[in-house]
């Protein structure tokens, strides 16, 4: 928490982010109808990561945090990315 920057975010920004999240959700649903098979999963994951980043950055104020907190969060995200990636080494090539 950085007290100097407390009131940087206004409702306007929250509102814009929220609209973006809705649009992205709609996109995910639309894409799932295209029946892209295993590529569909990749695209959904990609969109989900964008959504998660928006929430973290704006709603959870990560944008205004210090380096250590950001680094720690990055670690978490990398872990998830690697875990999902390794899971795909199975799902992608399974007969």
């Amino acid at each position: 928490m950085n007290d100097n920057n407390k009131s940087i975010t206004g409702y306007r920004i929250y509102f814009i982010v929220w609209i973006c999240l809705l649009i992205l959700t709609a996109t995910t649903v639309a894409i799932s109808n295209l029946k892209l098979g295993k590529y569909g999963a990749l695209i959904s994951l990609f969109i989900a990561s964008i959504k998660a980043s928006l929430i973290l950055l704006f709603f959870m104020h990560l944008k205004y945090e210090g380096f250590l907190i950001k680094a720690m969060l990055l670690l978490t995200i990398m872990t998830i990315a690697i875990i999902v990636g390794l899971t795909f080494s199975d799902v992608w090539y399974r007969h």
Binding site: L75, T76, T79, I83, L86, T87, R94
Partner: protein
């Protein structure tokens, strides 16, 4: 020393509550550590009895003392208790809680109330599991791994038991958050990262594993519960689900979890070796970084539990390769320990005896892990007694022996008293003998094809099983003597003084048992943790 000039110990400082409440509502990390230790060893005791009963059933082919269904329930409960109630909280929540602030020169952990909360989650989880054994369809019979589809179909009380484990997961995560924050924020002035005792490094790495991996367990268990309650079909191929998804999710947590078990154990023995070899640790940084390396590489290998489950070939090769990589940092540690003992003036007292047997047994456990990790041999040993032997060597011979070593080593600090050394040595000899008689035959049984989780077997396996059961009695005797010695000494042991071993880390600079706030004045650190005359 007279009582007059001695500071009151934390036992004598009650805080706001009295009696039992001064314990179960205490935010003192030392009291919480003791709460954990007491609870954990009580559960351990129960699970040991279950283990001995299983061995008794297996002394001869056919039904001996219990039915097949009872056997299934008993190995499940034995596994669940040993894993989730004993060895995972184990060293970090018990000894780590007591010692972490003392080792870094702090007055408490960063979040004392969350610390207490984590104990309450632990106890609540334990009670829920206990209740699950006697309600609904009775004790779960799935094995501690709760694999689908059986865990969804069985009529036993899996849902409630899994909910209990879910609560234990919360407890473990909270401990991790607490420790990581404490190590970042509360180190005494002058204690730079590379002046921290190596036990602290291992708790740090463990803390991150607890934070990053345990939520996956929570998620997995919630999905399993909802499958049972609502039948979503996530894991059911008939509904478009994937049973392998459960195995992935389960092991994404449970493989890193083995590092929650072993890293603090490695850290603890790293404190013990320099003290009884009277020389500084060899390769401080290599040991510190290998903890981090083990913690991070530990996320990449879970697939080695699924080699025969129908994963893709690419995944099997990737996971097998990565599994071999993890052996490297573990090897680094083993070599550094041995190098630290080399040319030391070794004092062979009970903590060091347990430590050396830890290195020996853990090496057997680790090296047989490579047999499991190679694709070709895995097919041969998967699901056999070879696995049972392997994980008892790592978890029991590894973690639990290190735990016992640490318990003896820090006993005088925690209780202010000394146990009987001669008796401790005797207990160790019996324990070590019993351990190998109990588990070594299991390697051979496994290679001969004896499957695990069976209450019966073909007559040709009888010799191995018979020897193993005799071993379980020897082992139980050793445990009984060890705990008798420790418990008796809590009340009757001789006063130990603040630094009976001549240790150089900060916990030995304060009185035994330490005062409520650990140090009269927060120490200022000017050098590394292990400073002995010769170096």
């Amino acid at each position: 020393m007279t009582t007059g000039d001695r500071e009151k110990s934390f036992y004598e400082t009650q805080g706001r509550h009295t009696g039992i409440l001064s314990w179960v509502l205490s935010t003192d990390h030392k009291r919480i550590g003791i709460l954990y230790l007491t609870a954990m060893f009580s559960f351990f005791f129960v699970a040991v009895i279950l283990g001995v009963l299983m061995r008794l059933e297996l002394i001869a082919p056919g039904r001996t003392i219990m039915s097949a269904t009872t056997y299934n329930a008993i190995f499940t409960v034995h596994g669940v208790i040993m894993i989730f109630l004993f060895i995972i909280p184990g060293i970090p929540s018990g000894l780590g809680n007591f010692l972490l602030p003392l080792l870094i020169g702090a007055r408490d952990v960063a979040f004392p109330r969350i610390n207490l909360m984590s104990w309450w989650f632990y106890i609540t989880g334990a009670i829920v599991i206990l209740v699950s054994l006697f309600t609904g369809g009775g004790p779960p019979d799935t094995g501690w791994t709760f694999y689908v589809p059986y865990s969804i179909k069985t009529g036993t009380n899996v849902t409630l038991a899994v909910f209990g484990v879910f609560l234990l997961g919360i407890s473990s995560t909270l401990t991790g958050i607490n420790f990581v924050t404490t190590i970042h924020r509360l180190r005494a002035p002058g204690m730079k990262w590379f002046r921290m005792p190596l036990f602290v490094w291992s708790l740090y790495a463990t803390g991150w594993v607890q934070i990053l991996a345990t939520p996956v367990l929570g998620l997995t268990l919630l999905l399993l519960m909802s499958e049972r309650l609502f039948g979503f079909g996530l894991f059911d191929p008939a509904k478009g689900g994937d049973p392998l998804l459960f195995e992935h999710l389960f092991w994404i947590y449970s493989h890193p979890a083995v590092y929650i078990m072993i890293l603090p154990a490695m850290g603890a023995v790293t404190e013990i070796i320099p003290v009884f070899a009277r020389r500084t640790i060899f390769g401080y940084k290599a040991i510190a970084f290998s903890s981090l390396a083990i913690a991070s590489a530990g996320y990449l290998v879970w697939g080695h539990h699924m080699f025969t489950s129908g994963m893709s070939d690419i995944a099997r090769m990737v996971f097998s390769f990565l599994t071999f990589i993890v052996a490297i940092p573990s090897g680094i540690k083993v070599f550094n320990w041995v190098a630290s003992l080399y040319k030391g003036s070794i004092e062979l007292v009970s903590p060091l005896l347990f430590t050396i047997s830890f290195i020996f047994l853990f090496s057997i456990g680790g090296l047989t892990g490579l047999v499991n990790g190679a694709l070709a041999t895995n097919i041969f040993v998967h699901g056999t007694y070879f696995i049972v032997a392997h994980f008892h060597y790592t978890m029991f011979g590894g973690t639990a022996f290190a735990f016992f070593a640490a318990l003896h080593y820090w006993f005088p600090k925690i209780t202010g008293r000394m146990y009987r050394e001669a008796l401790a040595k005797r207990a160790w000899v019996i324990l070590f003998t019993g351990f190998n008689v109990l588990y070594f035959p299991m390697f051979i049984l496994g290679l001969e094809g004896m499957p695990r989780r069976y209450y019966d077997y073909l007559p040709r396996f009888q010799t191995g099983h018979f020897i193993s059961t005799i071993g379980s009695w020897i082992l139980a005797t050793g445990l009984a003597i060890m705990f008798y010695n420790l418990i008796r000494s809590i009340f009757k042991g001789e006063a130990a003084g603040s630094n009976p071993w001549g240790g150089t880390t900060l916990e030995w600079t304060t009185s035994s048992p330490p005062p409520r706030e650990n140090f009269k004045e927060i120490p200022v650190v000017t050098g590394g943790p292990y400073r002995f005359g010769k170096d």
